[in-house]
Symmetry: C2
Subunit: 147 residues, 2 copies
């Protein structure tokens, strides 16, 4: 099992980051504008990226004190069954986001791509919280040939 | 053992990416302007980031066909002994870069940070190759509180 790890932070209240990850409106502001569903434990969120497809996530945990967790139930075969874990921590003026996409079976080339792309989207999340405007798909930063 | 993985690509000759990683001048264009040393197998390169410190890498492999490998011999304790592996592959018009920073003992918080920061620097590398201008430190994209 191999994981994708990331960490970003900004001078902002924890709740701003939490809402950006825990609500469809927040997610549409930095990941993909095509985000639909209900963000409640046991419910699902659907994220689509035009012709590239997308992912459905089941919500496993939603704790405003600083924890969100999803399980991938629909998407590319390499993603199915993997889990995405978000931790938010207030440290002085900063909120720190610790991100983990865990449970990949093999470190395939697609995992390398997803790691870079997650990093880029987390900087979009940071930008949203800092400036009020992120770079969700289809306005996302391109990293290679298949995005 | 846990690894940091990334993948970027651009419509550019493999040799442009290779030179950006295999020569001090190239590295100074996307990672840190303060890069000194000799890029030959068995020799060392020193990368410095002002007050933040830096890293010394021993060059383990330099193959213009598409492979560069370094061992970290000086730097933060978590980095010492880890290895950084670069693969370059030409695929039609694109050159694809597969990056691995391997041999981390534990998935500590600092590793999360380095993963995001590597992703951001690889986009700087991509930008250098595409446009002739990267974002090396001290002009790098900030991701959190300690960069």
């Amino acid at each position: 099992m191999v994981d994708i790890l990331h960490r970003v932070g900004a001078i902002a209240p924890l709740d701003d980051f939490y809402r950006a990850v825990a609500t469809p409106e927040g997610l549409a502001g930095w990941w993909t504008t095509d985000t639909v569903g209900k963000s409640e434990v046991g419910e699902k969120l659907a994220f689509r990226f035009g012709d590239l497809g997308g992912f459905d996530m089941e919500i496993l945990e939603l704790d405003p004190a600083g924890h969100v967790r999803w399980r991938v139930v629909e998407g590319p075969p390499e993603w199915i069954g993997t889990e995405i874990d978000w931790r938010f921590e207030q440290r002085d003026d900063y909120t720190i986001v610790l991100f983990k996409h865990e449970g990949w079976k093999e470190p395939v080339e697609f995992m390398h791509h997803c790691s870079t792309k997650w990093g880029s989207y987390l900087l979009s999340l940071r930008e949203l919280v800092e400036t009020g405007r992120g770079r969700p798909a289809p306005h996302d930063v391109k990293v290679a040939d298949f995005d």
